[in-house]
Symmetry: D3
Subunit: 133 residues, 6 copies
């Protein structure tokens, strides 16, 4: 697999890009910068905006960070995004996902995909009981 752009190494990064790379390192407590950020770095403004948003959303809140990673994996699997599946499955494991939890995540993805297909094929009308109030 090859990217549509060059991956920006630390050596070729501008000061603006390096500042984002260093915030990624500080936030995650690791020197490792994965390829997504090195590809995005071709457009420093897009890199900064994407990292700022991801850092904010995936950080602490009312949902457990592991739960957020599993939701991320689910969206990425539905969209067939290989890289995203790999990076967020790895992140979920780094945050403690057990094999049992992973098996359940896969099972929910599987049944959701299945019923999504059935509902789209059957065009089921929405029950008024689902109303928000």
């Amino acid at each position: 697999m090859m990217a549509t752009v060059s991956l920006i190494s630390d050596d070729t990064a501008s000061a603006e890009v390096l500042a984002v790379f260093n915030d990624i390192r500080a936030t995650r407590g690791t020197d490792f910068i994965n390829n997504f950020w090195r590809a995005l770095a071709n457009d420093p403004a897009l890199l900064a905006a994407t990292w700022d948003r991801l850092k904010h959303v995936m950080g602490s809140g009312t949902l457990d960070p592991l739960v957020k990673e599993m939701i991320y994996v689910a969206v990425s699997a539905a969209n067939g995004c290989e890289y995203c599946v790999h990076s967020h499955t790895a992140a979920a494991r780094a945050k403690g996902m057990t094999p049992e939890q992973y098996g359940e995540l896969l099972s929910v993805i599987g049944i959701a995909m299945q019923t999504n297909g059935l509902v789209n094929a059957l065009q089921v009308p929405i029950d008024p009981e689902f109303k928000k109030d």
Copy 2:
């Protein structure tokens, strides 16, 4: 919205279908049978197989049932399945999802969709560091 099939009422349901409807009622502690099952009931074997699987997967395990519902919503939003989004958002609320948790669920779906699109456009090569071991 109209379905591609008739919705099977209790009055027109076969004994096989009624048995599934009654298990849905007993499992959920409500008399309400939503339209998805009434549409699927046109094929009693498909109804039974789908309900058995969904009941098993969404039941208790190592992941919280609310977390499973949120994962289900995420997959359904990525697939653009309107009915599924409505039914599982309602289910998540019934299981205690707060507005704050819902806002975070939406935020994760949003950033995941965004980076899925960026990664697919950039064709980012998978880092060897994501390897499972």
Copy 3:
């Protein structure tokens, strides 16, 4: 549901559009022109090109026309295209699809969606045995 364009009635159709409408009628043996063609008719060249291709592909060949309609429904369900699901499910029924065949079509769509999701989540490497020769 409202379209993004006006639907072109026979009264407002140009001669070029009417010629396509009449070929649709002659090919299908009915006076009915469904909304898809009336929407496309805002761009007569796109209307003609789309109808020519669809007429050619869905006509007789080595695959049974009913099989082609079921494949069309499957793609449309996977893509969540409501109108396409409705129009091609109706077409499949007009070509003789029985309730048993429809139940099996739905079952295949369901299991395919499910394993698509699982495979995308697991990133299963392709077996060399699948090679074409």
Copy 4:
């Protein structure tokens, strides 16, 4: 391409997993177990449930097994699932799909994708004539 999990070989499989592998072998009349099942085998219950369902759905019924495989390929292509496309195209060929049939399958997938996109862009309202009765 690497999986997110280890592929379970016969040597490392539990008795529960081996029982499923052997049923796959007996059902298909071959010793070959493709990687999808070896990946799923990390969760023996998910492996068993998925195989049981797939075996049931793809087995004999009112639709020809080859037709079912072609529908499976169509869903998998719409979802962009590489592995699924490869495995079910190989299965369709093993069940006798000719080059002419494959060309027609591809043509239907192509026109369906095209009109799905046009309909989604035009938001065509559903004709009341498509009603099921």
Copy 5:
């Protein structure tokens, strides 16, 4: 169609939400606030972040604002997002999209969907000539 949340009117909006609404009004030169923002307003932080990003991306740059709206329509049609198709088709028209341009946009969406499906079904290997340099 009903939303999963209440739509926030100006009367019930917090000061934080009203500030975003007013920036939307000022930026667009109209009093009209469309439902997307009124739905998002249930989570004021998500509303603000989404509007800030959209305002920045869709504003002036090297690509014509009309071109950006057409790209937005294309993504939304591929994803089957009805609301997004409607809102951005309306926005494209407001920015001067002619019927001829719209017909060409639809034609590109159609051929792209078609070849996406063919390529996904054929699993075409990427030519080394596509390399970025």
Copy 6:
């Protein structure tokens, strides 16, 4: 990555296929035939129909050819079609897409994907103001 079919070289191409290959060469002003056409060439009629349509749509009209390529990339990224993303990103560059334009294209894809996901999750009702007239 391997295709599901053999790639047809000039040496093994029929006269019908060679005629299409030569029209591709003449139209593009290059000897290079990319793999998509060599894969499609297994079905000469599908090859000819697809090339005729693509040549017509992507040729000159009211939209700039570069704009058409960027729309093509956007659809392909939303659908996760790797080959299509690569081939049309290369085509856009060949037609003069600058890094700044590419960064804006990526930014629009990103925000569109994000709001598609949010809208699908929120099920926002369509504003009557979006009506075409």
